[in-house]
Symmetry: C2
Subunit: 344 residues, 2 copies
């Protein structure tokens, strides 16, 4: 990554090797075109956590391509989704490029670069199909593999599967796409769903949201096929609800991130409960909540902080639905995964 | 703090005991008056870190005093000064109450409650005067003790001192007030300055900014008299500058907090240095900077993060002035404390 200091000027046609990595398609040409078209001077670049360290090299290449009149500013804010735009940087730049996620809501100002992966999904699909006993199968993936989604459907159909796909709701950009907080694309008429993508974050959410379905993970990044197992998570959820049943003072968290606000739900809780306090913040972290002497918390922001990071907090943290169980408004068997709908 | 559940209605004249602690003056009457005058429905409350846990009890008392039509929202954002307003909460509430700091800039929307202390400064002043060999003395304190400042001046004059005080610049509200980043009130014609207040945070900054003066600390909270000693800090600063001299890639931090932005300084650095990258963020933390593969950082935000928290970061972090030394633009002996002037 650290090459010789770049020479100046427009090098688009010189064949000079650019600095950025080749694992992901940063769509530099499209970005440069938009910058030129809008005559932009200040350009904001926001990367998700895992790719922040690639940011400077991408900025280097864009500087080479755009010349000295354009200032690039890297967002140093944590970022975990298209729900999580750096609105400060967005307001203060002419063009704002958000990498790694597909549009949750289109805007003139924002260029979304979903970062399509160059990984080949078919070798791992070859292994996965042996684990799909039925003909009917749902297919879902993340923004990173959307560039191959049509091919994957065809490939499965060629092998005799009846592939069910669905666009989901307006929080999702593409047919077959899932987010950590939204699995509406898996509301399909099949008992098995094939998830293609890296890691277990998305398929675990999918399996929690659709406990009646078998969720098969075909992971082309780590080259493994597994079945999503939510047992540990579900035990943790029931444990948190039980511990919160004794709580007197409740902190009700309203998340100020652009795509994570559910004020109506938060206000409903504090209106009904005199011992509930509305607390607003962007990053919901153990350190920040430790400042408040509460017995339990309800998180109306990102449900994955509640389910995945829950055990790291010093007091039980529940989803709004779990809160209603803990205070006795709903029965224990109504416990379900908290999903997030709509944009902002 | 946890008393019986509050009964409803306006209890202002019932003599009911309120829930908040009595250490600080929260000026509830003034807040209630402003809420009523503005017919406010949504009220934001922001406390500094050390007092966040008092927030819910203060909210309880305000709820009692204002009735059910007013919704109180507690800011869960970190807060370290009047430079650090929760602008999100401010924009979304009718009245925004900022506790613990005096106004950096007045605004219709904001009620500043400096939280005057009820501690008596005179017993410790009695001890401190023995350590002041000269007649000429500067006197400074923090917002918390401003309610006694006039008395302190008189008290010292009665004992034969020639007391020098100064308003400082427009970042400061009161004569004799210091901030962690601004000691303009100590630009006075005396070789010794008496600081009255809790802790060493302010007097250490004062001593770094005015290395030629003796800074005597009279701490009425911990009941000690000491002389500010900056040796450890100064060694750390020289060490950081030396380690950064080999840096190739620089991250230049622009802090997005309302009173901590110095964009001109940040842009000047990146314009002059092709290996410098502008990074924007609100909280400047070791975790956030670890995401960027830089050799060193320049922090144009709060200077106290650089000097006090510097050793916690994985790479050297310098003030803008220290950066100029590290890159060879200024001599090593120009090293000085980074102060912050103006408002926003």
């Amino acid at each position: 990554m650290s090459q010789d200091a770049a020479t100046e000027g427009d090098l688009r046609n010189t064949g000079m090797s650019l600095r950025h990595d080749r694992e992901w398609d940063y769509e530099l040409d499209r970005i440069v075109e938009e910058i030129e078209e809008r005559d932009a001077n200040r350009v904001g670049l926001q990367f998700p956590e895992g790719l922040k360290r690639r940011g400077p090299a991408v900025a280097d290449d864009l500087r080479e391509l755009c010349g000295d009149d354009v200032t690039f500013m890297l967002s140093g804010q944590p970022c975990y989704g298209a729900c999580d735009l750096d609105t400060y940087l967005m307001r203060r730049t002419d063009v704002f490029v958000h990498f790694g996620h597909s549009p949750m809501k289109e805007s003139e100002k924002i260029i979304y670069v979903p970062l399509f992966s160059n990984v080949d999904p078919f070798p791992i699909l070859e292994e996965a199909v042996d684990e799909l006993p039925e003909e009917e199968v749902g297919l879902v993936t993340t923004a990173q593999h959307m560039n191959r989604f049509g091919e994957m459907v065809e490939w499965l159909e060629e092998r005799g599967f009846d592939v069910h796909t669905r666009r989901g709701d307006d929080r999702l950009t593409y047919e077959g796409q899932v987010l950590g907080c939204n699995y509406a694309s898996a509301d399909i008429d099949a008992d098995q769903v094939l998830y293609v993508g890296g890691g277990k974050f998305h398929p675990l959410g999918l399996a929690m949201e659709h406990p009646e379905k078998k969720v098969l993970i075909a992971d082309p990044v780590n080259n493994v096929v597994t079945v999503a197992d939510t047992e540990k998570f579900m035990k943790q959820r029931y444990g948190a609800v039980h511990r919160a049943m004794d709580a007197e003072k409740w902190g009700v968290i309203f998340c100020t991130k652009i795509g994570q606000g559910r004020m109506e739900i938060a206000e409903e809780i504090i209106e009904d409960n005199d011992d509930a306090y509305l607390i607003t913040m962007d990053e919901v972290t153990p350190d920040r909540l430790r400042n408040f002497a509460m017995d339990a918390f309800v998180n109306t922001g990102c449900p994955r902080i509640t389910t995945d990071d829950g055990p790291q907090f010093h007091k039980p943290m529940l989803t709004p639905g779990e809160y209603r169980i803990a205070v006795g408004d709903e029965p224990l068997d109504s416990l379900s995964f908290d999903t997030f709908h709509g944009t902002w």
